[in-house]
Symmetry: C2
DNA sequence: CTACTTTCTGGCCATGCGGCCAGAAAGCAG
DNA sequence: CTGCTTTCTGGCCGCATGGCCAGAAAGTAG
């Protein structure tokens, strides 16, 4: 007998099981990225993986769990990648530049992961019609970046502004850079990232650097 | 006999016909805004309008034409509203501020229209899997704003930067302001808009105002 | 009134969906 | 080999979808 639900089971999964789960997740990511949320069905994912549709049901409790796994995995992957490349930055401006550049590098190397994440984020809803992964899911990112700005303001490196709005806007700028690049692949992603770093440096830095917060 | 396709017909439509079409479009907008693209079916739209599903088929060639009409109508509405409120602005900075504020006012007054537009934009794809209304649909907006920036750079009002990246980023910042406000309705939209205007003023203005382009 | 057009209803259709399962196949332990 | 577990296939189910249509209803002109 198959376990009541291997997907939610606690037992150590076999090598084969883990490999299959990883393969299915990867194929699902590609399908979401290529066809979009609406056109991505379990049948299409199975087709891309070269397996029967039932295999997905065997390894995952359902489509919802599959998407949960994608979100969790990709999110962790990005966070690790970006945070690693921000280490050692001491100034807020430097940290922000490293942040933007790191995300741009990740975009270039794993565009499908980000596309799939976006499709799932924007379309999955709970039974009551509300977003499953809302803007609220970005809270940690917003708050971390806002805190970075506030620290820069306290040290006098940055001018006075609403740290939260700035944090939100940085994320928006990064996301749109990705969307634009996906539409126009010949667009220079690295140049765009540097331009964004300049943009926000001008937007945030104190008018008379060296002093404390300017007003 | 019903006309071969009233939806695409050229004849002057009757009052009743126009009223029905308008009602259906409005109900469709509300449904897209409230339930999202995935959960919006012709049946649900008809239910909200209190009519039979067949009425939609009678007045529109299909779901695709309905969505086309929504996009066209809302797009025209926004463009007219915003452009009207930018008239008379002579400086790039002033025009940008007026632009951002106007969009914020429109958001406050017609959130469902913008939500529906977003749902349709992000999810409708053609048969070959490509976006029907892609980032390319924003081209006119991007280009107009970029040209505004270039003019400001020529006059020495603005510093040197990539006008296109700046135009894209402004749009992203505005869109995210809306998304954030929808998630947190108590968020102060007007203050956010003013904060954005300040942000981009700092990001774009020349370091030594009064001269010509700075480098 | 009748004759005709416009508008609407209710239901049918083929399609594709996610979920599920009986049993085949494969792998493994004795 | 046999017996057991894990993994997979192929197909079936109920359901919702967009599109479609026959005919009813409402409106209008003569």
């Amino acid at each position: 007998m198959r376990p009541e639900s291997r997907a939610t089971g606690q037992k150590a999964a076999s090598f084969i099981e883990e490999a299959r789960r990883a393969q299915i997740i990867e194929c699902a990511v590609e399908t979401f990225a290529e066809l979009g949320f609406v056109a991505t069905s379990l049948a299409r994912i199975a087709e891309r993986a070269g397996i029967s549709k039932g295999v997905i049901s065997y390894h995952f409790a359902g489509k919802a769990e599959l998407m949960d796994q994608i979100v969790e995995q990709v999110y962790r992957e990005i966070a690790g990648f970006v945070l690693l490349r921000m280490e050692g930055e001491t100034t807020a401006t430097g940290a922000l530049r490293a942040n933007i550049r790191a995300v741009a590098v990740y975009m270039r190397d794993h565009p499908t992961h980000l596309l799939a994440l976006g499709e799932i984020f924007k379309n999955v809803r709970t039974a009551d019609g509300k977003r499953r992964y809302g803007t609220a899911f970005n809270e940690p990112v917003y708050e971390a970046r806002a805190e970075m700005f506030r620290q820069g303001q306290r040290s006098g490196e940055l001018r006075s502004f609403d740290a939260r709005v700035m944090a939100i806007t940085v994320q928006a700028a990064i996301d749109e850079m990705f969307a634009y690049w996906v539409t126009y692949p010949e667009h220079d992603l690295e140049a765009h990232a540097d331009e964004l770093a300049d943009l926000f440096e001008h937007a945030t830095r104190a008018e008379h650097p060296g002093g404390t917060a300017d007003r």
